[in-house]
């Protein structure tokens, strides 16, 4: 096997201890018992549109802040500084990933922490998206709309010739997200700072050009993978903004976590595949670190070894693709069962799209559980690098040079406790949302209940898989 070092996730080692068998059995048993309790409690629930109505509380004091330019100005500045730091330190900093800020900023602060925080508090990407910030700043002063276009640039429909982006749905974002997952998980090159910096620069150029030629929001909504991703994650969050026809915020609400995923949205296989990719790439990230994966790569060595590192990349990419395909087929099969037990003729595409979002809580909490110690401990590795971010022998902040990461919130027992609680709470939210969605789709409470047995089984299976991965010993070179 090629020397892949200690690369896990996109970069860096993980220090997690696998959860014990007793803890795994306890959590797995808890998932089954709680699922059963939920099913019993849900008997005789409401059906129709009322089923997906959820409580929310207006927070008028947040409205002036939401309407002001400051949050986007501050957020955009942070995003822009982060992007600039990734490009500059990636291209001109230390070649060793552990000593280069670009790796920490990309894989821990952006990719792990921002996703978790966006689920917890709201769509942070909306505020910190650096390409939107650059575009808006330039549009304000320098860019005039192409001929025939009128109105605010944000609202212009994007088109080049006869091509309209709405025709391709979010398939470009699906492709971009898959390529990003390949960079992180299958290329084995995510720990090369120069590559991370170069790709950040390339993606910035493509995104800005796309926004210019196709229209800002058209490009972001259809092609920019992170905007689509954070849009989905943000629906889980407790903050909800209501807008008028002009796109202005008219009210801000607080709501329970997860219920935003019940809101009606566009349907389509592109959106289903995007959500499935969120689940499958996360699962693959976990599987890559297990002994079972290590054994599999050794068993298949005769096939990929002749091509060396490229063969290993192909093996991993093919495995991740097959896992995504398997997730998709299993999900569709279970949705067919949901519709069958619901005893109502429904459009498969629309139903699958609606129920796919109910899996998002399981993916988000697994993401948080999986990355818990990574975010808590390894993120601190950036602090001493601030003294000399380009590894040029500088002493900008000498007081930070000797900083050692604290494990205060990442002792094994704390990590396990956080992981188990997160996974079970996410499972409960998912089961609850799925039941409400079924209430909306099917006509009688009995049918709603019947339709939910397959979905419940699927969610228990997915949660069990998440727990199983957390209980596996982490292997090097995953």
């Amino acid at each position: 096997m090629p020397a892949t070092g200690i690369l896990l996730h996109g970069f860096g080692a993980r220090y997690d201890l696998p959860a014990s068998l007793a803890l795994y059995l306890f959590a797995a048993g808890g998932v089954v018992v709680i699922s059963f309790v939920l099913v019993v409690l849900f008997v005789g629930d409401q059906v129709g549109a009322k089923a997906i109505q959820y409580p929310r509380r207006a927070v008028p004091f947040l409205l002036p802040l939401a309407r002001s330019r400051w949050p986007r100005l501050v957020g955009g500045t942070i995003g822009l500084l982060g992007l600039a730091a990734i490009i500059i330190t990636g291209l001109f900093g230390a070649p060793d990933a552990t000593r280069n800020p670009a790796e920490y900023l990309t894989w821990i602060y952006f990719w792990a922490a921002t996703v978790i925080l966006s689920g917890l508090v709201g769509n942070l990407w909306y505020l910190i998206n650096p390409w939107a910030a650059i575009y808006d700043a330039f549009a304000r002063f320098f860019i005039s709309p192409p001929r025939g276009e009128v109105g605010p640039r944000e609202q212009r429909a994007g088109r080049v010739g006869a091509l309209t982006l709405s025709r391709v749905g979010i398939w470009p974002a699906v492709v971009a997200f898959f390529l990003f997952a390949c960079l992180e998980l299958t290329t084995g090159m995510a720990n090369r700072p120069w590559l991370v910096g170069s790709l950040a620069l390339l993606y910035s150029a493509v995104t800005l050009a796309g926004m210019y030629f196709f229209g800002r929001n058209e490009w972001l909504d259809h092609c920019e993978a992170f905007t689509v991703l954070f849009g989905i994650v943000g629906r889980f969050s407790p903050v909800e903004a209501e807008r008028d026809d002009q796109g202005r915020i008219t009210a801000v609400y607080l709501r329970p976590w997860g219920v935003g995923l019940l809101q009606p949205g566009p349907s389509g296989w592109d959106r289903v595949v995007f959500v499935i990719l969120m689940l499958s790439t996360l699962a693959f990230d976990g599987i890559e670190g297990t002994r079972a994966w290590s054994d599999f790569t050794i068993a298949t060595e005769p096939y990929w070894q002749p091509s060396g590192a490229f063969g290993f990349f192909l093996l991993k990419t093919l495995s991740m693709t097959l896992l995504t395909g398997a997730f998709l087929l299993i999900f569709i099969a279970f949705m067919e069962m949901v519709i069958y037990f619901g005893n109502r003729k429904l459009d498969l595409k629309a139903t699958v799209s609606a129920f796919a979002l109910t899996l998002v809580p399981i993916a988000l909490v697994y993401n948080a559980a999986h990355n818990y110690s990574y975010v808590m401990v390894q993120s601190q590795g950036l602090i001493p690098l601030l003294n000399d971010p380009l590894a040029k022998g500088w002493h900008l902040l000498p007081a930070l040079a000797g900083y050692k990461p604290s494990f205060a919130l990442a002792q094994a027992s704390t990590v396990w406790f956080a992981q188990i609680v997160l996974i079970v709470v996410g499972h409960v939210i998912a089961v609850y949302l799925s039941h409400l969605k079924a209430g909306e789709k099917f006509r009688t409470a009995q049918r709603v209940l019947l339709s939910q047995y397959p979905m419940l089984l699927l969610m228990v299976m997915y949660t069990m898989t998440s727990l199983w991965i957390l209980a596996q010993p982490i292997t090097a070179g995953g």
């Binding site: 201890l17 709680i34 027992s413 406790f417």
Partner: protein
């Protein structure tokens, strides 16, 4: 029934969390012992034994013997063993952090094994 279901779900979750917490925090290993581990590194590529074990708060002494000059790095604890061929290099530290910590041959980032502190 419907008015009680949210409180029931919350009670079930609280019971689960409390029992889980007891299961996890009551079964922590009692450390505080002195543990000495002797390891041999060959060619900067192989370490015997490759899995070193200790308990939380043990005082751990690791003696590294290598047939090659170089550096063995214990990640997480960030401890370096500057090896000289045929000589024993010793580091003693308190296992204050639990986890699974990789050990590498630093110059080539070759994984040698790991220290498990439980």
């Amino acid at each position: 029934m419907s008015r009680y279901r949210i409180p029931i779900v919350i009670v079930v979750l609280v019971v689960f969390v409390v029992v889980g917490g007891i299961l996890i925090f009551a079964n922590q290993n009692a450390g505080g012992q002195n543990v000495t581990i002797n390891v041999t590194v060959t060619g900067g590529a192989k370490m015997v034994p490759d899995t070193l074990k200790a308990h939380h708060n043990d005082t751990v002494t690791i003696n590294v013997t290598s047939d090659t000059d170089g550096e063995v790095h214990l990640h997480g604890y960030d401890i370096h063993f500057d090896t000289k061929a045929g000589q024993v290099v010793t580091q003693t530290f308190k296992a204050a952090n639990t986890g699974d910590f990789p050990i590498e041959w630093e110059s080539t980032s070759t994984p040698l094994g790991h220290l498990v502190v439980s």
